[in-house]
Each structure stands twice: as structure tokens, then as C-alpha cells.
């Protein structure tokens, strides 16, 4: 790994001399029932090579036929990204040899993408960045290689296995124009773009868009140019960036690394880099260079895609609310402050909070759980908040129990512990852990009596009218009840007994 010998420049210092330019290529795996060019199932997790046919295996003589659902999803994504939709476009062959490519060419689009010239407004800390969208095009996924051996990578593998279940699953590749002018916010802009793009994709209902399952894959292009120069610098393309947080870290690392190379008078090699989740660094990919000649030409087995304007307008009518307008509406409905809203969006929790509220939780309670509790836990484990294993339905159910007096906040946290540990539903966890609040008067009364007896001085103060002293007795009772008591009820009992 050559990275160990590289000089990294402190992030703030990078910004004193260089202006970063970002470019993001996001692959979205569509959740169509069948593959892009054949009728095979796209279900995730099947036994290897069970969801295949002559076409997606590229058997001699097989031919592709376009999945209309894939085209529809591509157009809707294009429209949601404010793109123009091609009146006529073709698929093209991208030729290169690789064992997980059944035909040794990928059916993709080249100079005639289905959608082009759009933009997406991205909110970063209350500021809006307009990210230009160069194009969104349709293509097919490749098979999945597993390299068996000590390294787990192709170098040093004993042998490799290929699963073609994934081959032919429809992908939409969304490519931004160079994003300049973000300066110090470049890492956050990159992250926010991917995050908000994911929200948009989910709202469109065209993909599960889970980064951990590879439904959404981001390649991060970055270049630096000396401040004041017009021309963009040489870029690197970082792959294997599997979380929102990694997008930000990858940009940050590459900025520091590029600056180190440029400061030393070196030049950046235009190459593919590989991001390492554990160390947060990138290393040279070398497997595929940008200079490779893909010998694109129009796919002769497919007729051009020519969506009628009527169809495009019909699809425009199915678009979800514009994300920026939607955020403003929700903020007003929920009564969140600007800061609360920004934090919610920044944590990638907007959709989760929205769903939780829709399931009956009060807005502030929903925000409190997701941004207080869940965001902290996600941060502790380095996971994405959406991927913790706690659903909006879980949070709404817990909050309902709090509202009903069955749980207090402290007990609720224990329920979340149980959820994260996979102990079952909130009800099951409460039963198994014995977490319900005790409101049985007999048990409480005995505990109160015990507390009065143990703290005669405090009891006297209350008898003398110093009601505020009750807090000490309540604490003692709660301790005795291991927190499983309704504090209000305890207070009532103490006052009834002593006044």
C-alpha cells in the first residue's frame, strides 16, 4: 500500500491553497421485479446462479429485450432530477473482458442517455447548493465475483466464484457535472448529495437504495486546482465507498492526499482509487484504468428507446413532492427550529422521523429518539442511522408506551437496547426484561413506607411543609423499584402519607 508513504496535508491548510472540484457517479439498482433485458427475478439473496437464463448468462444466440419498467423508472428519476428526457436514445455496448461479465460487454448507454441536463438542490447546514446533473442513463449490473483465499481480493486468491444472479439487474447511473465552489464544505456537500439523492430515490419507490446491500453505490471523483485558476485539476475516482459517512471521509482524504502530491510538485495520476472503510484511506485501484478503451458502439440487438411525450408527462404526474419544498412544509408542520431541521436532515433521519410521526408519535418525541438516541448509537458503531435495525414503527410503538405511562424514558432506552440486540419486538422485550412501570399501589406503598422509615429526617421536613424535599424520597423509591415506577404516582403516595 503506497498510501503509507504519502504526505497528507491538513484539511484546513488544503483550503488555503486549493479549490476542490467534486464529481459523483451514483449507481442505483432498481427494484423492478425482473431484470433489465430478460424475465429473471431480481430478488436479493437467492442461491447463487439460480436466477439466470440464456440472456443474462450471455449464452450464444441469446438476445436482450428491454424491460419497460426499467425505462419508466429511469424517466421518473430523470424527471425528479429536473432533467430533459431524450426523445430517442439507444443502448450501447461497453466492451471489456471480465469473468463476471457474461458477454464481456456491458449493455449500457453511451452518448445518448435517457435523461440529461438536470440539477438537484442540496441542503447543507441551511445553505442550498445546486448540483448540476450531467446525465442519468440505463445499464445492466454485472455478476458478483467472490475471491476465495487469504486476501479476499483478486490478488492472491486461490480461486474465484461468480454469481450471475446479479447480472442484468437494471441500474441507473447518475452523473453530476463538476461541483465547484463548495470549498471547505466539499466533503459535506458530497455526503448531503448522496444522502438526499437516496431520499429522492426512496420517495420515487424505484429502489430499496440501501448502500449496505449495494443497491446504491457511489463513486467519488475529486480534483484540486490552485485557487484562482479556471482549469480543473486531474481527478481520481474513488470506488468502494459504501456509506454516507464514507463519502465524506473519502473526499476529505483525497483532498489531503492530492494537496500533498501537488505541494511536492508532483502530478495526480488519473486513476481509480479504492476506499478502505476501516482506515479511512484510499489506495490505488490499478484494476481498471480510465484510459481503457471500451470501444462503445450502438447495441444492434435492441431498437431505440423513444418515449412518447404523453408518456413522459404522465410519469411527471407521478413524481413525489419536490424535496426542498417538502422539507419546508414538514418543518412548518412539525414546528422544528432551523437547527433542529438541519440536524435531522444532516443525520439522514428525515424520512425516519417523518414515518415515525405518521405512525402517531409527537414530532418532538420522534426527533428526540432519532437524533438523541439513535444518532448517538449510530455514531458509536459507525453505522448509518437507517441501518441500525430499529424501524420507525419500533420508535412509534415505544413512544406510545411512554405516552401511556407504561414506560418512562429510562425504560424506553432499555427497550431500544433490546431492539438493537435483536431481542424481538418492544412488547416482547418489555416482557422478557420485566421493564413495565409498576403502578400496583401495594408494592409502591410498601416501597414508600420503606423509604420514609429509612429517611426520617427527610420525612420530617415534608411533614413540616417542605414539599420540595419529596424529591429525595422519590429517588429512594425509584432505586428500590429499579426505576420501574411511575414517578408521579410515587410523589402522590409520599405526599398522601406525610401531609
Amino acid at each position: 500500500m503506497s498510501a503509507t508513504t504519502e504526505t497528507l496535508v491538513d484539511f484546513d491548510e488544503v483550503l488555503t491553497r486549493y479549490e476542490p472540484a467534486l464529481g459523483l457517479e451514483v449507481h442505483v439498482e432498481l427494484s423492478t421485479a425482473t431484470k433489465m433485458f430478460c424475465g429473471c427475478s431480481t430478488a436479493f439473496g437467492g442461491e447463487p446462479n439460480t436466477q439466470v437464463c440464456p440472456t443474462c448468462l450471455g449464452l450464444p444466440g441469446s438476445m436482450p429485450a428491454v424491460n419497460k419498467g426499467g425505462v419508466e423508472a429511469a424517466i421518473r428519476i430523470g424527471l425528479a432530477l429536473n432533467c430533459e428526457i431524450a426523445e430517442w436514445c439507444r443502448f450501447a455496448r461497453k466492451n471489456y473482458f471480465y469473468p463476471d461479465m457474461p458477454k464481456n460487454f456491458q449493455t449500457s448507454q453511451y452518448d445518448e442517455p435517457i435523461a440529461f441536463e438536470g440539477y438537484m438542490d442540496v441542503d447543507v447546514d441551511g445553505e442550498t447548493f445546486r448540483v448540476g446533473i450531467e446525465r442519468a442513463h440505463m445499464e445492466e449490473d454485472t455478476g458478483k465475483s467472490t475471491h476465495v483465499g487469504v486476501t479476499g481480493r483478486i490478488q492472491g486468491a486461490d480461486y474465484s466464484l461468480v454469481d450471475y444472479n446479479r447480472a442484468g439487474i437494471p441500474l441507473i447511473e447518475i452523473v453530476t457535472k463538476p461541483i465547484t465552489g463548495a470549498g471547505a464544505k466539499a466533503p459535506e456537500v458530497a455526503r448531503a448529495y448522496v444522502q438526499q439523492l437516496r431520499e429522492l430515490i426512496v420517495a420515487l419507490g424505484v429502489s430499496e437504495a440501501r448502500m449496505d446491500q449495494g443497491n446504491l453505490r457511489a463513486d467519488v471523483n475529486l480534483s484540486l486546482a490552485p485557487i484562482g485558476t479556471e482549469k480543473l485539476g486531474t481527478r481520481t475516482e474513488t470506488k468502494n465507498v459504501n456509506s454516507f459517512r464514507s463519502v465524506e471521509r473519502a473526499v476529505r482524504f483525497e483532498m489531503s492526499r492530492h494537496a500533498g502530491v501537488l505541494d511536492a510538485g508532483g502530478s495526480i495520476l488519473q486513476e481509480t482509487r479504492h476506499f478502505h472503510e476501516d482506515s479511512g484511506i484510499t489506495t490505488s485501484g490499478r484494476e481498471k484504468s480510465d484510459a481503457e478503451d471500451y470501444r462503445y458502439f450502438p447495441e444492434p440487438d435492441l431498437v431505440p428507446v423513444a418515449p412518447s411525450r404523453e408518456w413522459v408527462e404522465e410519469l411527471r404526474g407521478t413524481l413525489p413532492e419536490n424535496p426542498t419544498a417538502k422539507r419546508a412544509r414538514l418543518q412548518a408542520e412539525w414546528g422544528f427550529s432551523d437547527l433542529e431541521m438541519r440536524d435531522t436532515v444532516g443525520a439522514g433521519a428525515l424520512g425516519l422521523v417523518e414515518e415515525t410521526i405518521a405512525l402517531g408519535a409527537a414530532p418532538q418525541a420522534a426527533r428526540k429518539w432519532w437524533l438523541g438516541e439513535m444518532a448517538r448509537r449510530a455514531n458509536d458503531t459507525g453505522a448509518e442511522i437507517a441501518e441500525l435495525g430499529v424501524s420507525p414503527a419500533d420508535v412509534a410503538a415505544v413512544q406510545k408506551l411512554v405516552d401511556a405511562g407504561t414506560l418512562n424514558d429510562k425504560l424506553a432506552r432499555q427497550v431500544f437496547d433490546g431492539l438493537l440486540a435483536g431481542e424481538g419486538t418492544p412488547d416482547e422485550i418489555i416482557a422478557a426484561r420485566g421493564l413495565g412501570i409498576v403502578s400496583d399501589d401495594g408494592a409502591l406503598s410498601a416501597a414508600v413506607d420503606k423509604a420514609i422509615e429509612a429517611n426520617p429526617d427527610v420525612a420530617d421536613k415534608i411533614r413540616d411543609g417542605k414539599v420540595a424535599a419529596a424529591g429525595a424520597l422519590i429517588g429512594a423509591v425509584m432505586k428500590e423499584m429499579r426505576g420501574q415506577a411511575d414517578a408521579g404516582k410515587v410523589r402522590e403516595l409520599i405526599l398522601a402519607k406525610l401531609t
Partner: protein, 518 residues
Amino acid sequence: MSIDPTRATAAQMADALASGETTSVALTRAALERIAATDGDAEGGIHAFLHVDAEGALAQAEASDARRAAGAPLSPLDGVPVAVKDVLATTGLPTTCGSKMLEGWVPPYDATVVARLKAAGLPILGKTNMDEFAMGSSTEHSAYGPTRNPWDTTRIPGGSGGGSAAAVAAFQAPLALGTDTGGSIRQPGAVTGTVGVKPTYGAVSRYGLVAMANSLDQVGPVTRTVMDSALLQELIGGHDPLDSTSVVEPLPSLVEAAQQGATGDLTGLKVGVITELGGDGYQAGVRARFTEALDKLVAAGAEVVEVSCPSFVHALAAYYLVMPCEASSNLARFDAMRYGIRVMPESNDSPSAEAVMRATRDAGFGDEVKRRIILGTYALSSGYYDAYYGTAQKVRTLIQRDFDAAFESVDVLVSPTAPTTAFKLGEKLDDPLAMYLNDLATIPANLAGVPGMSLPAGLAEEDGLPVGFQILAPQLADDRLYRVGAALEAALEKEWGGPLLDQAPEVATLTSTEGALR
């Protein structure tokens, strides 16, 4: 009058089956016996077949006879045996494309045309020899040895579909399927004295046809008569959802067109002789027979005029860019990872996937295939794409315009199918350019997607070998080929006193050990 079970036409066989005079088993057995007696192998005999499926064909024949006995619905050719070019995928039958690369590969699926043959009850006799991956004009590029011309076994049967044409000419099969990318149905038809049709691009499904050049390939019939081709094309044609390029609109009836033509009346028909496809480079005997055939058309009431298609002179050059570009990409999948042969590189204990791919492709592909892969890869390379592929596509457009303009003034265009009669085996093997020139007259139709037919025009004076007459029609007007072809066939057979193939020398029968059923 009872029919000869191998020499009868498919239409006659169908009639004899319908009248109960014969059975599908009898016809199929006769064909299999004829194959066993005459086909031989790479060393001798016709060698039209790479695989013969006697058991499967007889089982299909029995099933057809049983359906007929039970009064079940039957197709017009139900029970008539057929041979299939080895470039079409057949479940349970090897499909090698004449290449070592696919030695032993048995597809798990049927090409749409094969599925349609099976559904229509035609017993499949076996798979016919061809130039490797359909690349050639002589069938000498087959990795399994050449096919020999039944008219003269020292000569080529044309290519790439020499196996299908020779099987039909040698009375081994009444019907065969071929594929035509630049003339691979029509040129073998011309040099073997058979009828071959390249339908309108998209009129017949390509699903299951191992592609050489997807934008040019088309499946079509190889038969002994125009009517038989009409029957077979109607059976295999029509829209297929598995082939996005297949046309949705139905063609006019081809059988009716052939019946109408057979009356011999072409009054009002305008025939255009293509100036650019004749003259220099065309054998004298070919030109003579072609001119006499024109006289027959005039005698039938047609008006014959000369039409210039100036862009046709660039057709060969454009073809040898478009075809290799597509072929280089199509053939990339043969990499030893999933099917076909696998060759491990020498002196390497744990080779990379790339090294295995390289060794396999080096050993598995023949020289002509490698030549076209290299041509195509080069032409598609960045910096050359516009100059080569781009320009070739523009030439295609010009050729289409020439056709469009010509068909404004004439109903069909005609030319000799091939510039010469069958040449000697080995004669042009070391001269690829001379080999490519064979397809000069057939290529324009593929580049423009229009339909074309070759039918026998007689024997050349100087060598006594068959000459082919080509008819071209506008897209989707395949019926015109059949009308004109049937009229010409009727007029010529009247003069010859019967089919041209009656004049062919008897094919040598091999000794029983040589001819054992393979």
C-alpha cells in the same frame, strides 16, 4: 404416381403425407439413409452434416404420424424432415457454429425458429456444416473440415451455409435452414443449384442464432423449389417478443405469391437490372445465363430496365467494417468461463482468468475468425470509430437510399447472385480478398435490410456448374421475390424439361463402413 422419398419437393412430400401415401417415418428414414450413404466425413463424401440426430428425428416423425392418425391439427409441412445450420441453438443437440471453441456445447434452449420447426412437426435431421461462426464463402473455414459440392466434390459448396445447401442439393434433406449475413444463404444456393432466401431483416426471429453481425444476420430457407422456400419461410417467420428487432407487421402471403408466379404471368411487373452488379469480374457463363433468364422474364410479360445504384460499389468496404465490429464484440463472450472449451496456458501452474481466456481464444478460434476480431477491435478503437464504423454506417444509409430510389421506378431488382460458379476447394483459401469478392452482389441487401432470393438460372457453358439468379425486393415485400422467382423457375424448368438438379451427377455412394450412421 408415388413420390421418390428423397428427391420429391417438400410440397410433394406434404401432399403425399396428407393423402396417406407415405409417412413421416418413411420420409425421415429415407433422408437418414441417404445421409448415411453419401455424407461421409471430413475426409470424403459431401460432409454436409456435423451432427446427425437419427433417433430424435425418427421420434419426431413418429409423433407427427401419430398426430396425423389421431386427426390432430397439423402444420402445412408437418412430418417433412429438415436440416438446421449449426449456428442455431438446439436443445439437446450440439451447436458448434463450425468452431472448435464450442466443441461439445449443447444449448439448454431452442432458437425461436427451431422451436417453430418443432411445434410445426418437422423432424430435425441434424446440424449442417458451416464456415466457423459463419465467416466465409466456401465452408472451408469449418473447424471440422469442408463440405463438398454435390455437383463436383472437388469444389466448394459456397458459404457460410455450404452444409445446408449441399444437403438439399444432394437430396439428403428436402428443406434446410440457413443464415445470411452477407450472402451465406444465397451464394451457396447459387453454386449448388438450390433456392435460398434471405428474408427482410426482422421478418424471421434471430433469437437463438449465434450472432456474427446482429444488424445484418437473418435466418432463411434453403430448398430445391421456390414454393418450398415460401412454405418454410411462412412457418418460421413472424414477430417474436424475444427478438426486439423482429417486425410486428405480418408479411403478405408468400405461398399465394409463389402460386401466382407459377402461372407464369408477370404482366405489368417492372424489373431493374443493377448496373453495378454485373459486367467486369463476372464469369462469362454466369453473365450468359443471367441474360437468358432476363429474356424469360420479358417473355412472361415483365418490363426489364437498367437501374444504377452508385453506392453499391462501396458496399463491400462498408460490410467489412460493420460486420467485424459487431462480430468482435459478439465473440468476446467465448472466454472459457461458462461454456465451450477451456485451454489452460502452458507452463503456468496457477494461471489468471485472463491467461486462460487468452490461451482458449488462441486455440479455439480459427484464422478467419481471428482476422475479423482484430479488424473489428481496431475499427472500434477510440480515435478510429468515426472514420471506420461511423463512415460505414453512412455508406449503409446511402445504399438504403439507392434501394429506395430504385424501388420508386421498379418492383424488383435483379443481378447474378455470385460472380462465378463454384471454385475449387483450396483455390481462394490463402487469398481472403478474393474470397470476400464472392459476396459482392449479395451484401447490399444485408446492409439495407431488404429481402433477397437466389434461384438456379442454369449451368455455365464453360464448366457445367450452376449459376444463381438474384432477386431483391423492398423491405417487407418478400412476396415479390416469390412471385418473380416462381415465374422464372417455371419458365426455366420448362426449357430444361425438369428441375436443374436432375442434371446433377449422381452423388457417390460410400461403402457401408464409411457411411455408417454417425
